[in-house]
Amino acid sequence: MLGQDSHNEYLRTNRWVLWLFGCLLVLLLFRLSVLQILKGDAFFHYSTKNQIRQEYVPALRGMLYDRHGHVLVDYRFRFDVVVVPQYLKQPEKVLKLLSTLLNQPMSTLKSDYLKKKKGKPRFQAIPIARDVSQEVVAQIEVQKKFYDGLDIQMTPMRHYPYGAVFSHVLGYVSEPTTADFRKSKNHLMIQGEELGRDGLERVADEQLRGTHGVQYIRVDAHGRRIEHADGSFMNWVRPVAATPGHTLHTTLDVDVQKTLYEGLKKHRGAGVVLEIHTGRVLGMVSTPNYNPNTLGMNWHTLSRKADYPLFNRVVQGVYPPGSTFKVFSALAALQEKIITPEHTITCKGSYQLGRKKFHCWKEGGHGKVDFEKAVLASCDVYFYHFSKVMAMDRLAMLARQFGMGRMLGIELLNENRGLIPDTKWKKKTYGERWQTGETLNVAIGQGYVSTTPLQLASAYATLLNGGTVFRPYLIEQERDVDGKLIRANGPKVIRRVQLDPGHIGLIVRGMIKAIETSDGTGFSYRDASLKIGGKTGTAQVRAFSPEDLYSSCESLPPKERHHGIFAGFWPTKHPKYITIVVKEHGCSGSSAIPIAQAVFRTLKKQKQVAKAEGN
């Protein structure tokens, strides 16, 4: 057939179709053999990596205990709403859901998300809302399979069972900021980890933090966890368990701290309790304070408050010590042999130095005053008398030996040095010569002199223990999670001061009489069942003219009222504990006595309980 012959020509003239097909076949076979045989293992590795997501497991932060083994911090689980950018396919849809669930405008959520996302890897979950309610958690768990990239993350969170009681001394934690991530070079910081921000949490952050672990989960292309994963993929990976941070056993005492806090919480001020023979800090309170459990959210408001709740007044606050400083002036005068214990003066209510009149705090004066009475009744004129002939530099040297005017090295940040002035300092700062009148002021704890409550506590402890300056400390022991001792701190002697036991006895007797005798400044607060000793101090906030010097402090505007300071010790026989209480604008030092008494009562009860248990 002609037709058939002629159309077969199509094949004869078009062999290229066959060639084309052959080449295509070879090309595809070549490509497939490259992918599947030559690079097969590499691609197999990628496909394995694809479905395995490496996740960091935050290490639990180390625990903190008080000196009796009471737990000071624990954990609580928090639910956060997170978005994983890597899997986010429909941001608008997810935003809309979150906007309704969290009751927040979409624009806020969006800008917040974009800000947090910046500079972080795509696989990292970005927290959108912290600590959401159970209802929100339930809603998202139900709906998340329709919203790629949306998830709920459960995070253990530091919890402070005592709330505000330990605020400044323990500090608080918060999650790392972008700046923290940038700063952390040698330590891999991870989301969900908490960083210590203040107090012991901050200072001992590295010990408390622990080492994060690594875990692997199987995910699908949308980043959803495959719950029924058979576990065989675990052959390819090696999870690492997180190592919890070290445990710190502190010197703090829950009962003491609570008592101190109860006494101070309605005022502005500071309180600190030290063990006289070791330097252990049993309690430390600064008010106003903050609740570390919620601080992360309120930081900006708190940091702008006028009364500085974030500020630890015990170590950062400086106050004129007022009459509490007199024991050191008296000691200096005895040591310099300017006065003898028997030396007597007459106080008429004021003292004339040149053209200037120096007033006693008591209008009309104390009458005949010897050394003991000068201490117990806190007679200013007695101190003016001998200060006229005392070299300021000698007094300053003694104060510094006792630890004032320099840092004590407690495990807290931003310790203030305070100020112990001397002639050199005056020359350097003001370019002027030291005036005798200024020595008179310093001797009664006014003028240039300023100390922190902690320095005052340490100085009193030194006096009461016979001259040993201990470094005040908070961390007794550091142990790892298995209880193995890593580091033990004991009492650390900074220096020993040569003191005459006779002088100390005189001063201590004066301080006991200050509370126990009717002439004493603290007699009105005497508690017959609890014998304590102490020294009151009233520090003027500003200079007063002679006319309003004796007017009632309560009539002054709150900001101009005197600070009330009390330094008390217990027991009277062999003093063991020193308590310093500062009530800002509290008018008188004696008003701070009940707080110290409450502390000592607590300690006394503890001792009785221990004794009873011992029997």
Binding site: M1, G3, Q4, S6, H7, N8, E9, Y10, L11, R12, T13, N14, V17, L18, L20, F21, L24, L25, L27, L28, L29, R31, L32, S33, L35, Q36, I37, K39, G40, D41, A42, F43, F44, Y46, S47, T48, N50, Q51, Q86, R122, R218, V219, D220, A221, H222, I226, H228
Partner: protein, 372 residues
Amino acid sequence: MWIRVFKSLDVLLLVPLLGLMTISLMSIHSATVSEVSTGLSAIAKTQMIYAMLSLAAALIISRISLTTIQRLSPLVYVGLGGTLLWVLFFSPEIAGSRRWLFFWGYRFQPSEFMKIALILFLAKSMQAIQPFERVGLQRILGPLLLISVPSCLILLEPDLGTAGVVATIGVLIVLLCNIEKRLLLGAVVLGVISLPAAYQFGLKPYQRARVIAFLNPQKDPLGSGYNAIQSMIAIGSGRLAGKGYLKGTQSHLDFIPEQQTDFIFSAFAEEWGFLGSLLVLILYACIFIRIYTLAASGPNAFASIFCLGYAIALALQVGVNIAMVSGLLPIVGVALPFMSYGGSSLLANWTAIGICLGIKRQQRLFEVNEMI
């Protein structure tokens, strides 16, 4: 009568085809099965129904005489051309393009059928040209017009991939004629010159992004290049013998996009490895060779040109699809004939197979006639 129908069928063509259909159904099931339900996945079931309908359609078409088909081809071509226009104006936009015709709750992709209609009409319009005849421009002007109309309509949907495939199939079929050398040379030169201009002005931004992603998929591994990379990982991770049926992680964990349609080969190759890929390619080669030899023994020029044309179309689509999923070509929406999920592509391809079966049957009739 049925015995006669079956006897007239071409076993050498049908056996590899049925093999591919089996592989296809298995792979679609694997790609779409959910972990909780048992039995065949819903999508695999649907495809099974499509497959049976298509097979029936092929058998019916194989009974139609070539003359009738030849006579009907312009009508089918015009009808489908009208449908493409309709789609362009009246179909809802899905993911940025209008490709689908909705019909009683089902959707059809007229462009799939247009491929076959175009081959038929080209065969009809070219059958008068003698193979040894030198052909100038005016003799192929008609066929070129036939190619450009559907190509342009599909391009406007917009569906660059299918338009390119349709145009390429058409041009390759026209090349079956003995065209003047200087005409070919001129066309090549013109093509090379216009290519950059077409890239700049003819492509939409997302299409340009695809081309860039193809040239450098690692540049944005989670963006445009994501699909290409995940597909390559799937194929490659199958290694020699595959991960085992239903054990492909890339497909079961949703890393492969469109795994039951355009990317069915990736899902298959992951589970069956290089050996499986080889088998599929061999099956396609068998089908190609069979249709190619049918062209040689066809009863007339129309049949021969159709067989060659369809063989070219099949090879091109298989080639483009596998090249695309294995990272040799940019991701353009070209289905893998007989493997990808989708009724339109399956029915269109089986229609062509039906015609081939008819050619085979009628060639035997001719032989019988000759013997008498």
